[in-house]
Symmetry: D2
Subunit: 227 residues, 4 copies
């Protein structure tokens, strides 16, 4: 039996076919892991990821509204709080460490790829229910945990002298891995309560589309190498 077992997440990954590894093993990821990613690419990614986080917090605010139980509301609220109180702050510190002017960063226009993925997620969440919203967010939340863990296990990865080591450490760390595991459990719980196999095709199509949009986000970073 595969490690993911028969969770909704593992079924969605299977349904995404090669699109999943095109995202999690994207050249941006491989070069970040072996340290060969140009700094301009990473810097461009960081700035757009900051703009992304604002919409990520909006998505979890929407999830508070769309909750059916107090427990669901509390999990969504914790993710809004973590994004606004912690992640955005960490991101700003981190960007400052990379010499990014954080005032300018907040005023950078969103790239096409940032608009596409963030608004796709929000539309899925508004047109559908909370399960639709969380499935569209899963390539991001769970995907980052998988990317970091897989990179650390990859013999091609070099951590010595790798400028991006702290990025890998953060997403491979226990705290983030637990958050991603909770997101996977939430998918199963909601699929049992709001789903049924009739929904799988539609959820899988959205998951695959979101996965492709995440790969486009890496590609955007890579394309900015000379920035």
């Amino acid at each position: 039996m595969s490690p993911g077992g028969n969770t909704l997440f593992s079924r969605l990954v299977a349904a995404a076919g090669p699109a999943w590894r095109s995202y999690t093993r994207h050249e941006f990821v491989l070069r970040l892991a072996d340290g060969s990613l140009p700094e301009g690419a990473f810097r461009h990614y960081l700035i757009q990821d900051y703009l992304f986080l604002i919409h990520f917090a909006r998505a979890w605010g929407l999830a508070v509204y769309k909750s059916e139980t107090l427990a669901e509301m509390r999990r969504a609220q914790a993710l809004v709080a973590a994004t606004l109180d912690t992640e955005i702050g960490l991101h700003i510190d981190y960007c400052r460490g990379w010499g990014i002017d954080t005032v300018a960063m907040a005023q950078t226009p969103e790239a096409l790829e940032t608009v596409a993925y963030t608004r796709f997620v929000l539309d899925r969440g508004l047109a559908g229910d909370r399960l639709d919203l969380e499935v569209a967010l899963a390539p991001c939340i769970v995907g980052y945990a998988e990317i970091a863990a897989e990179s650390l296990a990859d013999p091609a990865t070099r951590l010595d002298g790798n400028r991006y080591k702290s990025w890998l450490d953060m997403y491979a760390g226990a705290e983030y891995q637990a958050l991603a595991a909770a997101a996977k459990s939430a998918l199963d719980e909601q699929f049992a309560r709001r789903g049924g196999d009739g929904r799988f095709a539609s959820l899988a199509a959205a998951f695959t589309a979101a996965t492709r949009l995440e790969a486009d986000f890496w590609q955007m970073g890579l394309a900015a190498m000379s920035c």
Copy 2:
């Protein structure tokens, strides 16, 4: 086997228990059918039903937005059009026939019961998906067809000289019955595609709540007997 068979609608009615007949066999309905309903009660109902129709059209506009297929969009769009182009016009003519000042009507404040049912439906539709929206609308759309058909079949009903005969005829007529039958089929189709038994408890709770809010709407009419 019962006439409703094992449709989602018949299961929702069964889950609503006595609340369903408290709505479909409400004193307002019985007295409308035997002609003993005071005109003031009917007039108050008509005015609030006009205000209700505006939000009903909004609900089907929302359903256009929430559609996943062109066929779903077309059905929702046809219901927006029927409400705005036909029903609201018929309603205005009908109200005029009842001596209601239709300009004043449009400015009447919504009753508590009108606000409660219409906004409950819209919130279900926005917090959930299109199936949640249609389940919340079903006590209205399908219920009215059932109320009219059942009234015509009831020996206590008197059509001779009944001021409300045209109301019964409209909802018992082939056109409205077909619309209600299509709404029932749509519930089954969406439950197969987006549902599964895991969702039933939540759908049934919303259907029962909406049924109670519809009974409150009749009660509002009845309470206004002396208007």
Copy 3:
């Protein structure tokens, strides 16, 4: 010049006319302040207010989604957190102190009045923008602060031996008064940034409707005197 000056809130109160005092000086409030309110009325109110708070938290979750700036998001997020982490807990403790079975409480069906006000607010917020949402919430947030402060200043109020003193103290307290003052400032800030006098008529109509729905909420409590 009146203490409220020319704030948006004071203009909305003025536009609401007698509806405002019918709410803030409702018999439920006056009898709560002089201690003559029957316990059954208060208990019914407390239970429905608990159910109300859940939708209040949903409304602020929606406000996170609808924010245009990080500062707006943070204020909304703080109100979700305060509601879920503090208020709902306090409410449960308080209800327990009043001998209410808090498990049963969470399963009590929402009263018509609870459905009407909460869903009206959410619909205003979804159909309109964040200013529409906050205006619909203002009779609640700012109104409670005014009701408590005004009650404490009223010679007819009796605090000695008044079972409801702690309720008045909570809403007249510095913490809640500051929260209400921030809500008033936020209205002005948003009206400047998203408004203009063209919007006033629509905002005032919604504020007045919400005020009436709040008065209906008191009336619901009063009507349950014998519970």
Copy 4:
């Protein structure tokens, strides 16, 4: 005085600066007008424009929900109907004329540029009010009318033997020009009723972002020249 005068639309175009002409005078447009656009580019554009139209209909469904008056609802409903009943049908006929397999077309994945613009519009409409929604749609609705009229007036345009003549004729035709003029009037009416100068900066930022996303849509067509 310029023909646009001091309408909200003309102010939004002025605020967009060079982004406006980068869209309306995009190389895709110029080559379509002089007939030198490769067929592959046009074909790719047509297919994505079909997928775009589905979300365009969803946006007007949302506008029905977000309407404050019956007149507003009717205009939105007419645009849903025109899109679903007429435009999508015409589009399918037109695509067939260009040798596009229309079944395959409906299953083509949305391009990044299609996702970005359509979901940006829907998010603006859900996070904001109907004016936010219509401003985000204006570069499309009004822009196409301007592009076609300006192309016909441009001496570099060649209609003789131009494969794309019917496209220009459709958008320069009286029917579409009237629809665009109505959209401009609606912006002014809504800005007076829901706006005020305080909103202009936010509306202009969204209009400019939407204009850039439309230019990206042309660019997507151009990039597919060899398809």
